[in-house]
Symmetry: C2
Subunit: 399 residues, 2 copies
């Protein structure tokens, strides 16, 4: 539902929020968990321009898990309250500059699930390993996913140590094929009780908001370990999460029809209405010798084969409980063109076509010192651009 909080003419008394191209205008109001330097307690804030409004008066707690227990109606009410407080004409309140704050993970994440929802990614990866049969028979029917590791979820900015592992052929050592995966994350809530599936028509109400996720991957470890139970240590050394959760309410103006399905889906996954969101994800890479990051790719979340609501309906279809604070990621967001490929495995075609960066830097996979920055945003004629912020990490040497 598009309401007055999305009005493109709204302006804030926080001037940095009114600058064109700002990630966090008053139409956005993403929520996050912050701590001022030297402070031990964490607090909940809303990003506005280059500042943070402490939302403690309306939302208690040290993380967003409480927020994620709210109904979608309660969440919309809170959005209106925060929007009013920040609109031009309202009385000014104390703000905290973002540059003075350390950001933390938005929630205590009880379970983390990673989907595989881009058919372009699945086809690309499949055709590298099974040229005759790139897409497995279940792909167009099952929103394929696996359980990820919670203990290695880290907030944007956390250094990423190159993992060691079995590389096949009797070798153990630092991965030689370190990769990123640009994904959209979704925080869940309020969720369901064990044994009570969420019907597709109600599924979207259980998405609290979205963020950026970099599912760092060690491809050599993955190739050797993943049969028959899926990826394990190739992914569980670090997964970076952006600190600002853009609420599902803020995304409303960017709702679009989902990609056409290539064959009919089962009734429990059939959506009426427009279940997709037009969110652009970009990958930027900066080697230690480069001054500025270079944009490597740009993908579009609306091109995913499965929507967030379909992921929720599928995930809970066996009765699995989804709890407030759970994180669901989309899998690598890739599209049909080369510039849409959301990981190096695809971009360099399994390390056979080097990626050429400015200053003659060439990459098959990531080197130590490389910084990877994901960014995300929504744009639509007649609405104010909203940003997801960024999710970054620098690769450090193996120990």
């Amino acid at each position: 539902m598009i309401d007055e909080t999305h009005d493109p003419d709204l302006r804030s008394w926080v001037e940095s929020a009114n600058a064109p191209g700002c990630n966090f205008p008053i139409q956005n109001l993403p929520l996050g968990v912050f701590r001022t330097r030297g402070d031990t307690e964490s607090r909940i804030g809303a990003a506005i321009g280059e500042a943070i409004l402490d939302v403690g008066p309306w939302l208690e707690g040290h993380n967003l898990n409480g927020y994620m227990t709210l109904s979608s109606v309660q969440r919309r009410d809170l959005r209106r309250v925060i929007s009013s407080a920040l609109q031009r004409g309202s009385s000014r309140q104390d703000l905290i500059p973002q540059s003075d704050c350390e950001m933390l993970l938005p929630a205590a994440i009880g379970d983390y699930t990673d989907f595989y929802a881009s058919i372009h990614h699945a086809r690309n990866v499949g055709s590298m390993f099974r040229p005759d049969n790139p897409l497995l028979p279940n792909y167009r029917h099952v929103p394929v996913a696996y359980h990820g590791r919670c203990s290695s979820l880290v907030v944007s900015g956390t250094p990423i140590r190159r993992p060691s592992g079995q590389l096949g052929g009797g070798r153990f050592g630092p991965t030689q094929e370190l990769d990123y995966e640009a994904e959209l994350g979704a925080f869940l809530g309020p969720g369901n009780k064990l044994g009570e599936p969420i019907p597709i028509a109600e599924a979207e109400r259980h998405i609290a908001g979205v963020c950026l996720v970099n599912d760092w991957s060690a491809r050599d470890i993955q190739r050797w370990e993943y049969q028959p139970l899926g990826p394990f240590l190739a992914k569980s050394f670090a997964t970076s999460v952006s600190p600002w959760m853009v609420t599902i309410e803020a995304l409303e103006p960017f709702r679009v029809s989902a990609a056409e399905h290539e064959s009919p889906v089962l009734p429990y996954l059939r959506e009426s209405g427009s279940g997709a969101f037009d969110i652009t994800l970009e990958v930027w890479l900066r080697s230690s010798s480069m001054e500025k990051p270079f944009r490597v790719s740009r993908g579009h979340f609306k091109e995913m084969y499965w929507t967030l609501a379909q992921m929720v309906a599928h995930h809970s279809s066996n009765g699995c409980a989804l709890r407030p604070g759970d994180l669901m990621a989309s899998g690598t967001v890739s599209g049909p063109a080369k510039e849409n490929r959301g990981c190096l495995l695809e971009m360099t075609w399994k390390g056979t076509e080097p990626l050429v960066l400015p200053d003659g830097v060439r990459r098959m996979f990531l080197n130590d010192g490389d910084e990877v920055i994901l960014t995300g945003y929504c744009e639509r004629e007649g609405f104010v651009r909203i940003g997801l912020g960024s999710c970054g990490g620098v690769i450090g040497a193996a120990c």
Copy 2:
């Protein structure tokens, strides 16, 4: 280290603990979390015979996560204290009858990992699906595992609702191939920081204790969904955990040499000393028409291809953080003989050789109303038998 707490001549002033064949003699002292009927607060207790000693005076908290932050030296000290308090000659204290208590999960489980450590299970399952190539090339090198779902971990006794899901061939509905998997669980602690692997020589210090795990599985859902990222909804509807954690210290007398490896393992997995434990796991099945449960199988944990220490060393080898309260399960404990097979998939050979129970009951997979009970124990000449208790669940109809 076998010490005075393992002395087979020790007797308790709790008479039910001295009965032959008792699961919880004074040599055992497993820890669990209980609540007396009507009480809202949970407490930590040690099982002794048919009673529970509230260990609040020595161990605070509402779950065992605090215990799991202790070092192995501190844990051994606590064991001595509890043993002393319960020995004949010590002053009697108030006890709570187990029959008056509701048991809860022993810990707040932050991550749950399921291994695939029985080569017999892997060979059996592999030969059903790949007769020419039953064991994948990585099996003898990699302790294969996948991340499981925490939100569907339930304590023994919780009813198990038959899940629905995609069964392949365009069908969606209640699973027709519901199965159990008899596994040993291990609670972890104190664990490691992200980026700091645990060396194999220190790995066992990070095992706090063991329990029984029934990794309920829907085989038809699993077969259709599991490529290429592993099992997901086929397992995430329920996983039952026994309530009493038998400490690693209590298992000391039952330490044995690990099964011979069929080929050398990489140095980070090489153990000196005896890293296996001789624990017997039994599966009992009772249909709604049967008066008493019938023993279907008996497996031996000492026959697993990988030890608990190897699982810990492997799990953390990429820097993945293991946290106090994390649960690691072994995968189905199967052995070389038919009577050792720890799941129906193996026992009925993919539903082709029915299991025949008393009263003419026949099973390929589980029916509604069936009760599955896992039990576990350790026995060795010259030591008192210790039990792991039981882990049960009754199958309810799909919703």
